[in-house]
């Protein structure tokens, strides 16, 4: 199968854990374009996994296949122990899916949206459940407001309340915090971890590095192929990327001079700091050597950040 060797370099150590998601070779084509190519994902129950990758890399398509919104062209596996292909209905009943774009009914109030969801899932005592959910997420005061009138942060809270109302065992969140302010993002993540503590498995796609670092493990997908997976530390170590920071007056002016030198993969700004990354320590050292003598500059080796690694992975995959 195309792409299989690359994917299999990052096999899942299952360690005998019960898997909430366990799929292999998941593939989706749109016409000639292969959107998702032989993706293997195994997420143990109760963990929070981050799903990262550039725009158009296949994150949304993968999530949609997991919750039965798209038929996989190839691949098999289970979600919550149900067969991905033949038991989509059972998966839907126990999964909560939060779409990238707000997808609740803007002409219904918060309460009406939640009650609709509750009735669709056939929950008993819908009213009481909705009351509790509203209270828990601090939406009680706004319950009679039309969903369309809410700001981004409140919409996202409402969506989370709605897709967890039926007590799902698996949450699939597709860029849930895009366009949400930092405070609301932090609250949202606190809520995610509370849910995970309660035993829910979460797969969340994001572009934010700080969010990726809140996940138990990360899967990085690029052009439909998984190019890295593991904990943040594992991915950083596995990348073999070495990073130096240059601090001090005039550090910024160094960027153009360093770019393109042998052994320097990329140079990027972190505030007043300059990150210089590459794979070969000797080459990096020799590239930086002329500036060591400059008293105004401090050059130190540092741990590569997740962002450094991701930009590098993205460049490799794109090349």
């Amino acid at each position: 199968m195309i792409g299989q060797p690359i994917a299999s370099r990052h096999t899942n150590p299952s360690d005998g854990l019960a898997m909430a998601i366990d799929v292999k070779g998941l593939t989706k084509r749109f016409g000639k374009k292969v959107a998702v190519n032989a993706v293997d994902i195994a997420v143990p129950e109760g963990q929070v996994w981050g799903f990262l990758g550039p725009n158009g890399s296949g994150k949304t398509t993968t999530i949609r296949m997991l919750c039965g919104l798209l038929h996989a062209d190839a691949g098999e596996g289970t979600c919550l122990g149900y067969n991905l292909r033949s038991e989509a209905d059972a998966i839907k009943r126990e999964t909560g899916y939060m779409t990238q774009k707000f997808s609740f009914w803007e002409d219904l109030t918060i309460r009406e949206n939640l009650e609709f969801v509750g009735r669709v899932y056939g929950l008993s005592e819908v009213r009481r459940l909705v009351d509790e959910a509203l209270e828990k997420l601090g939406l009680a005061a706004r319950q009679n407001q039309l969903a369309g009138e809410l700001s981004g942060g409140w919409k996202q809270r409402m969506a989370l309340a709605a897709c967890t109302l039926h007590g799902p065992k698996l949450l699939l969140l597709d860029e849930p915090t895009a366009g949400v302010d930092p405070k609301a993002r932090r609250d949202f993540w606190d809520e995610i971890h509370k849910l995970a503590d309660g035993g829910i498995t979460v797969l969340v796609s994001t572009h934010y590095m700080d969010e990726a670092e809140r996940c138990d493990k990360i899967v990085f997908i690029s052009s439909g192929i998984i190019v890295a997976r593991g904990t943040v530390a594992e991915i950083v170590t596995a990348s073999g990327l070495i990073t130096y920071t240059v601090a001090g007056d005039g550090a910024r002016h160094l960027a153009d001079r360093l770019r393109g030198l042998p052994g320097i993969e990329f140079v990027s700004f972190f505030g007043a700091l300059l990150h210089v990354s590459g794979y070969d320590r000797a080459l990096l050292e020799s590239a930086l050597a002329p500036y060591r003598s400059d008293a105004k500059l401090t050059i130190t080796e540092t741990l590569s950040s997740l962002e450094d690694v991701f930009i590098q992975l993205q460049q490799q995959a794109g090349a």
Binding site: L69, L70, K92, T99, S103, W105, E112, F116, R119, G122
Partner: protein, 377 residues
């Protein structure tokens, strides 16, 4: 796996009714449009045009010309607004659309009648619209026998037309006065329902798709049949309300007779409305945006107006067009409505038109459910 669950249908219905209530503009249109169309077309459409402008060319000065002219005026089909001696002048009036008829009474007409020479009156009709002139033309035929009846007496009695060997007696049943409104107003019931019902449902799923809520609906355990029932049912109520409104206006404003059973009519109307909603729903499973849905709605609406027997006589169409017309639910519904209202038809008489509508309903409903994709592929 059960194909539907009551609690999910209940959930869908609740959602749809709330959304319908919130969408005041659409709701107002669903009530306002039928009323406007009913009054506009009910009063405007007349299939038996009278008082058509007519030019007269008179070169005869005898007494019988006057009798012919007054007979023409009395028929109420002709309004003689122009009298001329010139043929080119009369032709010009026809060409400019200022008259619909030119009637020429030749020189020596009265003299020739008396002589027994059998003179002719020439009538030139603007036949660009045959339907508009046909009633007036047929009224002219009786004129020859009746117009001079009072004049040709005594010595001239022998010139009067002979009584024919037999008579043809015509009884125009159900609508003896040929009142167009009796035909048009029940027909409008079918047309208005077709338009509003198909339009209202054709955008139902399309709108969910455009707003992105469809993805959410599919990610939940809702099933195609449940979504369809949820989308269609509120519109059945709207359709029933429209039908009651139109029938009320038909009875109390246009004084259309209602001879048959109202219950039977309500039953047939419910089947008709549901069949239309099936069409609209099928459109909404196919259309990717509301513009497409509207275009497809009009694609269905045009034949419903033109091939159903609403605008033009059904039996005047070639057989293949009649077959096309028979496929449309409105063709059968028009026969049922006119039958129940004007003829007092019952179950037995409407059955031949009832079952095709039921069949259409099942076919449309099946296509709608099978067309429905439960994934975003």
């Amino acid at each position: 796996m059960k194909s539907f669950a009551i609690h999910r249908i209940y959930a869908m219905l609740g959602k749809e009714f709330i959304q319908m209530r919130r969408d005041r503009t659409t709701l107002a249109m669903l009530i306002g449009i039928p009323l406007m169309q009913l009054f506009l077309f009910g009063y405007a459409i007349n299939m038996v045009p009278r008082h058509l402008p007519t030019a007269l060319i008179v070169t005869d000065s005898g007494p019988f010309s006057d009798s012919i002219i007054s007979a023409l005026n009395n028929s109420s089909y002709f309004d003689i607004g122009h009298t001329t001696y010139s043929r080119p002048e009369a032709r010009r009036l026809l060409g400019q659309n200022r008259v619909a008829f030119v009637i020429e009474i030749p020189a020596n007409f009265s003299h020739d009648v008396v002589r027994g020479a059998g003179p002719s009156i020439l009538v030139e009709a603007d036949a660009t619209d045959p339907a508009a002139s046909s009633y007036a033309v047929s009224a002219l035929n009786g004129l020859a026998t009746s117009a001079l009846r009072d004049d040709l007496t005594g010595a001239l009695a022998s010139r009067a037309p002979k009584a024919p060997a037999f008579n043809v007696v015509v009884h125009s049943l159900y609508n003896p006065e040929a009142n167009t409104q009796y035909n048009v107003v029940p027909g409008l019931l079918g047309i208005i329902l077709t338009m509003t019902m198909v339009m209202a449902t054709s955008i139902s799923l399309t709108r969910e798709r455009e707003r992105g809520t469809f993805e959410n609906l599919l990610a939940m355990p809702t099933r195609p049949f449940e979504i369809m029932v949820g989308k269609i049912t509120p519109n059945i109520f709207v359709g029933a309300f429209q039908a009651a409104l139109i029938l009320g206006v038909a009875k109390y404003v246009f004084h259309v007779p209602m001879l048959g059973s109202f219950g039977l009519l309500a039953f047939a109307a419910t089947i008709f409305i549901t069949a239309l909603l099936g069409v609209g729903y099928t459109i909404s499973t196919v259309a990717t945006n509301q513009m497409q849905a509207m275009q497809m709605t009009f694609f269905f609406l045009m034949p419903s107006i033109l091939l159903s027997g609403f605008a033009f006589p059904f039996r005047g169409m070639p057989v293949w067009a009649q077959w096309l017309g028979e496929v449309l639910p409105i063709t059968h519904f028009l026969r049922i409505v006119r039958g129940i209202l004007l003829k007092g038809n019952g179950w037995i008489e409407i059955w031949p038109d009832l079952w095709p509508m039921v069949l259409f309903l099942f076919v449309a409903g099946t296509i709608a459910v099978t067309r429905f994709r439960q994934t975003l592929d």
